[in-house]
């Protein structure tokens, strides 16, 4: 009997507690949250459709990597130069440096150039026989400054000369030039594939020595008559734009160039 009274009173107590806790005046004031505003996420790459954005990202990453590499690569040559007047350790250091560079880099030719440029520069700055004495007497700070200076210059050269593609500004200059020369044939069917790829062999002055349409076979396919019109317009644009605005240095890099003409974006819009 007493047990059942106990159970009953406990359960009643629980019930009272629950009721009391859920009474409105006892409840805590809710936090004054701002109303929920739904946000629609839009993939802006589709909307803005900047064609070179992914490439730009890659290029920037590449440059960053190169810069990182360069910092480590260029440290030794400075030492070499400082020690060079002492004549003994220099040859070993230099050969070590070249080996190191060769290990890191894929393209040995470019590395040779780099090394040459670095050493030539340093020769001008540091190895002039008339200035040797003065250089030896220079304070540590001055040395450090020279080191910084050489560092910067070689990195800039590196950016423009050593990357496998064109820099963004170089690419933009070339694009802007060709945009102005390309008269897009307006009658093309814009729901078809309107991409023409043209491979160019360039002379050092930017003139075109040879041009080749990469999807040449498509011209003669039935129902692809518009492709010929498009390809011809692209070739006219290249001829009209000659000499192309290519960088003044690094001919090896851009002596072969592929231009992808795509009229779809213009005609759809």
């Amino acid at each position: 009997m007493s047990r059942s009274i106990l159970v009953s009173s406990v359960l009643h107590l629980v019930l009272i507690m629950i009721t009391a806790m859920s009474l409105p005046f006892l409840a805590k004031k809710p936090i004054d949250l701002p109303p929920i505003v739904s946000i629609e996420l839009i993939q802006i790459t589709d909307k803005t459709n900047i064609p070179f954005a992914p490439k730009a990202k890659k290029t920037i990453e590449k440059i960053k990597e190169k810069e990182k590499k360069l910092v480590s690569e260029q440290a030794p040559p400075k030492k070499v130069k400082k020690i060079k007047p002492d004549s003994v350790p220099m040859p070993d250091d230099k050969s070590k440096k070249i080996e190191k560079v060769k290990e890191d880099k894929q393209n040995p030719e470019k590395i040779d150039n780099e090394v040459k440029q670095v050493s030539e520069f340093e020769k001008d700055e540091l190895f002039d026989p008339n200035n040797i004495a003065a250089l030896i007497d220079k304070s540590k700070i001055e040395n450090a400054e020279t080191v910084n200076k050489t560092d910067k210059i070689t990195q800039d050269q590196q950016k423009s000369v050593d990357i496998s593609g064109l820099s963004l500004s170089e690419e933009d200059a070339l694009k802007a030039q060709i945009f102005g020369c390309w008269s897009i044939p307006l009658g093309l069917p814009y729901n078809e594939n309107l991409l023409v790829r043209i491979k160019l062999q360039l002379n050092p002055d930017g003139t075109v020595s040879q041009s080749e349409i990469l999807d040449h076979a498509r011209m003669n396919k039935p129902g692809q008559g518009f492709y010929k019109v498009l390809a011809e317009s692209a070739l006219r644009a290249i001829k009209l734009c000659q000499p192309l605005r290519v960088p003044s240095t690094g001919y090896e890099r851009w002596k072969e160039l592929q231009l992808n003409f795509d009229a779809r974006e213009m005609l759809e819009g």
């Binding site: 044939p185 009658g187 518009f226 498009l230 890099r253 003409f261 974006e265």
Partner: protein, 445 residues
């Protein structure tokens, strides 16, 4: 072996990527500079044509037609002939491309006219100046009186070769010529070349004529005329001049138009006070009701494949554009913008529908895709309507009226053309006021 495969898979792609690629996704839409050299002609032929056609130099006249056509298209910029360095006869044999390059020509048209067995023989060549090569060479023989058409055909060929789509120059336009004060207007059926030349009146003006429309497959026209105050639909063969009555229809009858195969006409008329869309088979004259709705359905136009019909209807409360299957099923509204939409016309290319729109007291000519998306208004004015497509679906011709002043004067109605870019708007000159134009298909087809 595995190592070799690894090398093939990894090193070769690396080598391929080494080629610098530049994406060119923009160009200019400036008119292409083109040199139209006068067609050369020998002295004997020149004298013969002078006698027949009363033209001093028919070679120059044909080249003027070509030049004018190219200019009005808005896609070409014909260069001033005074700047040409090479004589026409030599240019036709072998152009000195450096000379033409010097005046910034990107394309060059040369040709020769000769008098052969009482006929006009024209050969012409299109050259790519920058590439230094011939792009096309053609020759025609025709009766001398056809010389303007030769100019139009040359333009069509050049246009097609350089833009990738068929031309629209060897075509004619039928329209309603209007004269007299606004309250007592005399309306005649008239036809002319697309450039305004060779204007002819086909009716005398005794009866009111409305909405002439070309058959898309032949030189046949259907139009509406009032005979004893009753609307009557006619068929007119332009080539033979033969005319026949298709039928008398009750109440308000509107805008008969051919089906794409030319075997039917589609129109709207009011029966028992309700306007619906009907077709009539031209062979057996059987009339079929396509829509059956208490609203006002008018201005039907077939899609080029004949499977769909666009029309306007006020079934939603306001006049809007709808499409349906050609049997009248699957009616779907496609225009949802503000204002009233009317006179929908399906493009011969099938991709767009042109329309007239009335919004806030202004009239617009515009185009939209066939699902109603991508609405673009090409031109705005006080009053304009009745767009009609060029056979290649690039240009629209319509008519525009000017406002009457307080004295009731100053009213005029003229034909205008505009291309799909909306930039190239031109007045099409006609000897009288004009309305309700309709563009023919290519005559040379």
């Amino acid at each position: 072996m595995f190592k070799i495969l690894l090398i093939i898979f990894f090193i070769i792609p690396f080598k391929a990527f080494a080629l610098i690629e530049v994406d060119i996704t923009r160009g200019n839409l400036n008119p292409l500079p083109i040199a139209v050299s006068p067609l050369s002609i020998d002295e004997n032929s020149r004298q013969n044509f002078k006698k027949i056609l009363k033209k001093k130099n028919i070679g120059s006249e044909i080249s003027k037609v070509v030049e004018n056509n190219l200019k009005t298209s808005g896609l070409f910029n014909p260069l001033n002939k005074d700047a040409f360095l090479q004589a026409p006869d030599i240019a036709n044999l072998k152009p000195r491309f450096e000379d033409w390059n010097l005046i910034k020509a990107q394309a060059l048209i040369t040709g020769k006219v000769s008098f052969v067995e009482e006929k006009l023989r024209v050969e012409f060549r299109l050259w790519d100046v920058l590439a230094g090569k011939e792009m096309m060479a053609l020759a025609f023989t025709t009766v001398p009186n056809n010389w303007r058409r030769v100019g139009h055909i040359i333009t069509d060929k050049v246009y097609e070769r350089l833009t990738g789509e068929k031309g629209y120059f060897d075509t004619r336009i039928i329209y309603v010529a209007e004269e007299g004060p606004k309250t007592r207007r005399i309306k005649k059926l008239a036809i002319m070349d697309q450039d305004g030349a060779n204007n002819k009146f086909l009716t005398l003006g005794n009866e009111l004529v409305l909405t002439p429309r070309f058959n898309p497959t032949s030189q046949m026209v259907t139009y509406l005329s009032y005979f004893r105050n009753l609307p009557r639909v006619y068929l007119l063969d332009i080539e033979t001049g033969m005319q026949e009555v298709v039928g008398d229809f009750p109440g308000m009858t509107f805008a008969p138009r051919f089906s794409p195969d030319g075997k039917k006409i589609i129109m709207s008329f009011a029966k028992d006070g309700n306007s619906d869309i009907y077709t009539m088979d031209l062979e057996n004259r059987i009339v079929e009701k396509i829509t059956n709705h208490p609203s006002i359905d008018t201005s039907p136009s077939y899609s080029p494949n004949g499977k769909y019909i666009c029309f306007n209807s006020d079934r939603s409360g306001y006049q809007q554009i709808y499409i349906m299957k050609s049997d009248g099923s699957n009616v779907k509204r496609i225009s949802f913008g503000r204002g009233l939409y009317g006179t929908p016309v399906w493009s011969p290319r099938g991709d767009l529908i042109a329309f007239t729109k009335l919004h806030k007291g202004k009239f617009y000519i515009g185009v939209m895709r066939t699902d109603g998306s991508g609405e673009r208004l090409l031109t705005e004015n006080f009053y304009q309507e009745a767009p009609s497509w060029s056979p290649n679906g690039r240009v629209l011709i319509f008519y525009r009226e000017t406002e009457t002043d307080s004295k009731g004067e100053g009213f005029s109605a003229k034909l205008w053309s505009i291309d799909l870019t909306g930039y190239n708007e031109r007045l099409v000159s006609t000897p009288t006021d004009a309305s309700d134009p309709s563009w023919s298909s290519l005559l040379s087809n």
